[in-house]
């Protein structure tokens, strides 16, 4: 059980103008799974390389259990990787692959055999010790790679988009397996991903990276339902932002008129937002209703995506699929329920 601390990490590359990581701060609790989200090139993978010791930070410190590891050689750090590709050694069979780290550490053949069998049970692939890696499916290879990394009981597990190249059903089942094993062994884990669904399903906390820093970090539900800033809100799929002046339960916006809000504390110039699935579309007027016409309906199984024109502006709403698809140009009322309007500044 290890805590992981980053203090004021800065890292630049010669070819880039701005630093990839700029005064980056993060604390990961022991046994916690924190996911790092953000667009590509934002420094997520760089961070993992710094932890593993493949690269060095320009400034700042990385601590395992409060002790700096910057002077520790990469092969002494006990921080293991799982990449998009399994990187199983093709010249070793599955058992020898898993035993690789144990052999390095000097475990006896007997101990190795026992531990390999234990790990194969844990990943749900018992008895495949003798098979060559190239006979396994992509998902199985990733499971074996996980076993190879975890059999040495590392301090930190670094997951660098490990599910990316897998088909959806395999991806979902592997996410579940990795999450369960990580919880069972209590290994402190960082997951780098650009897939919001994946991060929500797996993380204890999600960190959104922007400009070399953590822009927001919280539990998945909290970050998804009430993102703290506009960037985060956009990242989790919020599309409607309303700028206006708030006072005593009302938001007055030049563009959208007067809207009731629940947030009584918020006073003055503010930006409020609402998730597309919280917008209601109906025929009848009621509180916070705006008149519009349907532009476009796209059926997506469990929900219908609608584009509604309100004058010049276009707004997107996701409504449950039990509703009928409405014809274009149908006049409707767009309801922004006050309990779902939240401040993002």
């Amino acid at each position: 059980m290890t805590t992981l601390t980053f203090t004021h990490i800065t890292k630049s590359y010669p070819k880039r103008d701005t630093p990839v990581l700029d005064d980056f701060l993060l604390d990961v609790q022991s046994g916690e799974l924190v996911s790092l989200l953000g667009p590509s090139g934002i420094g997520k993978s760089t961070l993992l390389k710094l932890i593993a010791g493949i690269e060095r930070p320009d400034a700042g410190d990385i601590r395992f259990d409060g002790e700096s590891v910057l002077s520790t050689a990469p092969n002494q750090r006990e921080a293991v990787f799982m990449f998009q590709k399994a990187y199983l050694f093709p010249f070793l069979n599955v058992g020898e692959n898993i035993a690789f780290g144990l052999k390095v550490k000097g475990f006896s053949t007997k101990e190795r055999l026992i531990k390999v069998a234990e790990m194969l049970d844990l990943i749900g692939l018992p008895g495949i010790e003798k098979r060559p890696p190239n006979e396994l499916s992509g998902g199985e290879q990733q499971r074996v790679a996980l076993a190879r990394s975890l059999v040495i009981r590392p301090k930190v597990l670094l997951l660098d988009e490990p599910f990316n190249s897998l088909d959806r059903p395999v991806r979902l089942s592997l996410q579940e397996a990795v999450r369960n094993i990580q919880r069972e062994l209590g290994i402190t884990t960082l997951l780098v991903t650009h897939d919001l669904d994946e991060a929500m399903a797996m993380s204890d906390r999600m960190a959104l990276m922007m400009g070399g820093k953590v822009a927001a970090i919280d539990k998945p539900q909290r970050l998804f339902q009430k993102p703290p800033c506009v960037e985060t809100a956009k990242f989790v799929g919020v599309k409607l932002f309303i700028e206006g002046v708030a006072s005593s339960g009302t938001l007055v916006s030049a563009e959208w008129g007067k809207l009731k809000i629940e947030d009584e504390q918020k006073v003055g110039r503010s930006i409020f937002a609402i998730r597309p699935e919280h917008i209601r579309i109906q025929k009848e007027k009621c509180e916070n209703a705006l008149a519009g016409v349907v532009k476009n309906c796209v059926y997506r199984g469990t929900q219908i995506e609608m584009k509604i024109a309100l004058g010049e502006r276009v707004l997107r709403a996701h409504i449950p699929a039990k509703n009928e698809i409405m014809p274009a140009e149908e006049p409707v009322q767009v309801i922004l329920p006050k309990e779902h309007l939240f401040a993002v500044n």
């Binding site: 493949i54 750090r77 990787f81 093709p90 010249f91 990394s149």
Partner: protein, 257 residues
């Protein structure tokens, strides 16, 4: 049919040689030799000069290819895996000697050898052979490294292995096919060098190709053909051996080389 013609065109010279080597006399327009014999081969294989030349050639080619691999490895790794300014020109410079005529290089090297006193020595010949083999080795290996994924090494590193251990237990084994192909090429280039051996060795070191070359002016077609076939044996065997490195997809041969 199209494929049969390709095969025929490829094998015609070899077949002609074989027929000649085993014939007692064969003249146009006879489609096949009138009489057969294996005299030419038995005469050659009982001649100690031929045997010594074969051993010398094999040893020389082996040392040259080993040295090419050892010297070429770090350069190829740098070129294949790293980006640096001017890389494009380093590629071209390496590529240059693999296609420019050996005769021209030979002139330069022969003069250089005379200047440094290495002319006529085995060391001089080895160094001269490395001039064409090294660029080929670096070129081939750099291509192997360009497709090599260092993440295998990072995985081993994260699992606790030291850099030396990683080199011997991971890197060498992953690169084995590429190293073998590069080494075999170096071997073949060295094996077939008669020009550099003649120019730098000054006729004092007799390898099989040098022997064959001198036979061309004097000997009869049967002897020359038999000598040629002996000379061809290692390349043909080596090429057949590389078939082992081919996967199911035959286009892999391009990837592997």
């Amino acid at each position: 049919m199209k494929r049969f013609l390709i095969w025929l065109a490829l094998l015609a010279p070899l077949l002609t040689l074989g027929l000649f080597a085993l014939s007692k006399g064969w003249f146009y327009p006879e489609p096949f030799p009138a009489q057969w014999t294996s005299q030419a081969f038995s005469r050659l294989l009982n001649d100690s000069r031929t045997l010594k030349a074969i051993l010398d050639s094999l040893l020389l080619a082996f040392i040259v290819s080993l040295l090419s691999l050892i010297i070429g490895y770090p350069a190829a790794r740098e070129i294949g895996l790293r980006d640096f300014p001017g890389k494009k020109y380093v590629w071209l410079a390496i590529f240059l000697p693999t296609v420019i005529p050996p005769l021209a290089i030979g002139m330069g090297l022969s003069i250089l050898a005379l200047q440094t006193g290495l002319a006529g020595t085995r060391l001089g010949i080895i160094l001269a052979h490395i001039v064409p083999t090294l660029p080929y080795t670096v070129f081939t290996l750099a291509g192997v490294f360009a497709r090599y994924d260092e993440n295998y090494e990072y995985q081993a590193l994260a699992l606790g292995a030291s850099p030396t251990r990683i080199f011997f237990t991971v890197t060498l084994r992953l690169l084995a096919p590429g190293l073998a192909v590069a080494g075999l090429f170096a071997f073949l280039i060295s094996w077939s060098q008669y020009l550099l051996t003649l120019l730098v060795g000054g006729g004092r070191v007799l390898t099989l190709p040098v022997l064959l070359f001198s036979a061309v002016s004097g000997g009869n077609p049967t002897t020359i053909s038999a000598l040629s076939l002996l000379f061809l044996a290692p390349p043909v065997l080596i090429i057949a051996a590389t078939a082992r490195f081919l996967g199911e997809n035959p286009n892999d041969i391009h990837e592997r080389i």
